[in-house]
């Protein structure tokens, strides 16, 4: 019998599926950690995991409240620094995949984690960049993980903290940036980017949702291909790994 799974568990397994064995992955806490550990414990045992503040390949046994929590540094191969991780590994071009989340994303995958409102008028300041802008600028590709809501998937965002494809076409390359976002994974669907215009394009819809569910809850119309399949659901083994081994206290999966 198939186990019931939550939208978060499906997002984590979709994220894990994007990672290939041997890749170097820069992650923040939350869903990306679950996705990356899941990949490492299944099809991609040789993944290298990086935390920006100076942590390589930790093997935590307790969940942490953030990257600053020593619980998530436990049994690391290396404890070093920003210049080591974001400099010598990321800036040098050795990060294959970076996971990013945010307050808002636009059709070109530009991300806002800085403020909501009018930056020249009334606004609420939030978290800012941390290493997100560096990862968005320097990783070979990025995977964006977002809740699927109209106030988060927007035509125009308040502030570009981390560039995606900027204004589309070749504008990202013109700005001197490598890589770019390869996927946007939400709790309703997965998107990729059109090879030329670099606009978000619907790739698959999560089981239980309709095309109207997806399009009706976003602030812009993505490119629609002729045929949109359903996203593969998590396997029983993946769900068990997430619940029993990776996030038993449900700290990352909410």
């Amino acid at each position: 019998m198939d186990l019931e799974y939550t939208p978060s568990e499906l997002m984590a397994t979709a994220g894990a599926r994007e990672l290939q064995d041997g890749e170097v992955v820069a992650v923040g806490l939350g869903l990306p950690v679950v996705a990356t550990f899941l990949a490492k414990q299944t099809h991609a045992p040789n993944i290298t995991i990086l935390f920006e503040l100076g942590v390589i390949n930790p093997e935590p046994v307790h969940c942490g409240v953030g990257l600053a929590d020593p619980r998530v540094w436990y049994r690391a191969n290396v404890l070093s620094s920003f210049v080591d991780i974001l400099g010598a590994i990321l800036h040098r071009g050795r990060v294959d995949v970076g996971f990013l989340g945010g307050l808002e994303v636009d059709p070109y995958g530009n991300l806002n984690t800085t403020l909501l409102g009018d930056p020249r008028g009334t606004f609420r300041h939030m978290v800012g960049s941390g290493g997100a802008n560096d990862i968005a600028s320097c990783a070979q590709r990025t995977i964006i993980i977002m809740r699927h809501e109209a106030r988060k998937l927007k035509r125009a965002i308040s502030f570009v903290t981390s560039p995606g494809y900027i204004s589309g076409g070749d504008s990202r390359a013109q700005a001197g940036l490598r890589g770019g976002p390869s996927r946007v994974i939400t709790d309703k669907a997965i998107f990729c980017f059109h090879p030329e215009t670099k606009q978000m394009m619907l790739m698959s819809i999560h089981p239980g949702n309709t095309l109207d569910d997806v399009l009706g809850t976003m602030g812009f119309a993505p490119i629609l291909p002729q045929h949109v399949p359903f996203t593969d659901p998590p396997t029983n083994d993946q769900v068990r790994l997430i619940r029993d081994v990776i996030d038993p206290k449900r700290m990352y999966m909410g």
Binding site: L29, F51, E52, L53, G54, V55, V61, H62, G64, V65, G66, L67, A68, D69, P70, R71, W73, Y74, L79, S80, S81, F82, V83, L86, G87, L90, H91, T113, T114, P119, F123, R124, H125, M126, V127, G128, S129, G130, G131, A132, N133, D134, S137, C138, F159, V160, T161, S162, P163, I166, S171, R172, A175, G176, L177, R178
Partner: protein, 299 residues
């Protein structure tokens, strides 16, 4: 000559208006006892810098000691946002220069190496870059790579007057070990004019000489050494003690309004005469001993 001194004296060496680099990252190794003493001494107009804004910077901003913050964004992790920093940015009372983590780390790195500027791939095509460029006397410019002809953003070095760094162990000369990840601390110390070391314990020079490869801060860069247990409380120090979740939560609660924050300051900063008095106020030895790190886990 020993550099060991009191927190009061070390803090008194910092003039109002100085540029201070702080060692905290979110809720770990924050210079909390230092921040409380700065506020008590009424030092004002500081420029504070760090790669990721942390609880030490937020307390200093809330306590009215900071005029300008140079940082790469930040939070108190799951506990919440930097409410005093954010309020200052929103109402314009705090001058903020906001970058990414690596841009600040590179600015310290350039400072530490005595370089005139440092190129970076980050920031391009972002509103972070646009905002930094708009400032008068902007610390960002563009140069053409003389070898390839490519255009690169370049950043000015950061040269703080003093770095204040929370460490586990130091000797009386200031040779200091930092256990665990060091984020921007190595470069902060080397870019700064001088460094104040706040150590959980001061050990003999012989102890340092037994494992000198652990020494992150060379004593030659240090002006003051302060020995102060639980100086980072309520934030954590790897292999020494865990963060105090209850105390961080009450700080977050108090940060919701300026009035509540003033009550917090009256209670935990102005209402105590020194760090020992503070430790008693937050529960004394009985409570603090429960935060002691497990030696295998490090937390």
């Amino acid at each position: 000559m020993t550099k060991v001194t009191t927190l009061v004296e070390a803090v008194a060496s910092i003039p109002s208006g100085a540029h201070v680099a702080l060692s905290g990252f979110a809720i770990t190794r924050c210079t909390m006892a230092f921040a409380r003493e700065v506020i008590r001494q009424g030092i004002r107009g500081l420029t504070v810098s760090q790669c990721v804004g942390a609880m030490d910077a937020d307390l200093l901003v809330g306590g009215g000691a900071v005029e300008r913050l140079i940082y790469g964004g930040g939070s108190l992790d799951r506990f919440g946002r930097l409410a005093s920093v954010n309020r200052g940015i929103e109402d314009g009372s705090l001058v903020v220069e906001e970058y990414s983590s690596l841009s600040i780390a590179f600015r310290y790195l350039a400072g530490s190496l005595g370089l005139p500027f440092i190129p970076i791939r980050s920031l391009r095509g972002s509103d972070l870059m646009r905002r930094i460029e708009e400032r008068t006397g902007s610390d960002i410019a563009a140069v053409t790579d003389p070898f390839t002809g490519e255009s690169w953003p370049v950043l000015k070095p950061l040269l703080p007057d003093v770095a204040v760094v929370q460490v586990q162990v130091a000797d009386a000369q200031g040779n200091a070990w930092i256990m665990g990840p060091r984020w921007d601390n190595t470069e902060q110390v080397r870019a700064s004019q001088r460094t104040i070391v706040i150590a959980e314990r001061v050990v003999s020079g012989d102890m340092i000489r037994q494992d000198p490869e652990r020494t992150i801060i060379p004593g030659m860069l240090v002006s003051h050494v302060v020995e102060l247990p639980f100086a980072a409380h309520p934030t954590s120090v790897y292999r020494e003690y865990d963060y105090d979740a209850e105390q961080i939560e009450s700080y977050v609660e108090a940060s919701r309004t300026p009035e509540a924050f003033q009550t917090y300051l009256d209670q935990y900063v102005y209402g105590v005469k020194d760090h020992w008095d503070y430790l008693d106020k937050v529960g004394g030895e009985r409570r603090l001993s429960r935060l002691r790190a497990d030696l295998v886990l490090g937390y």
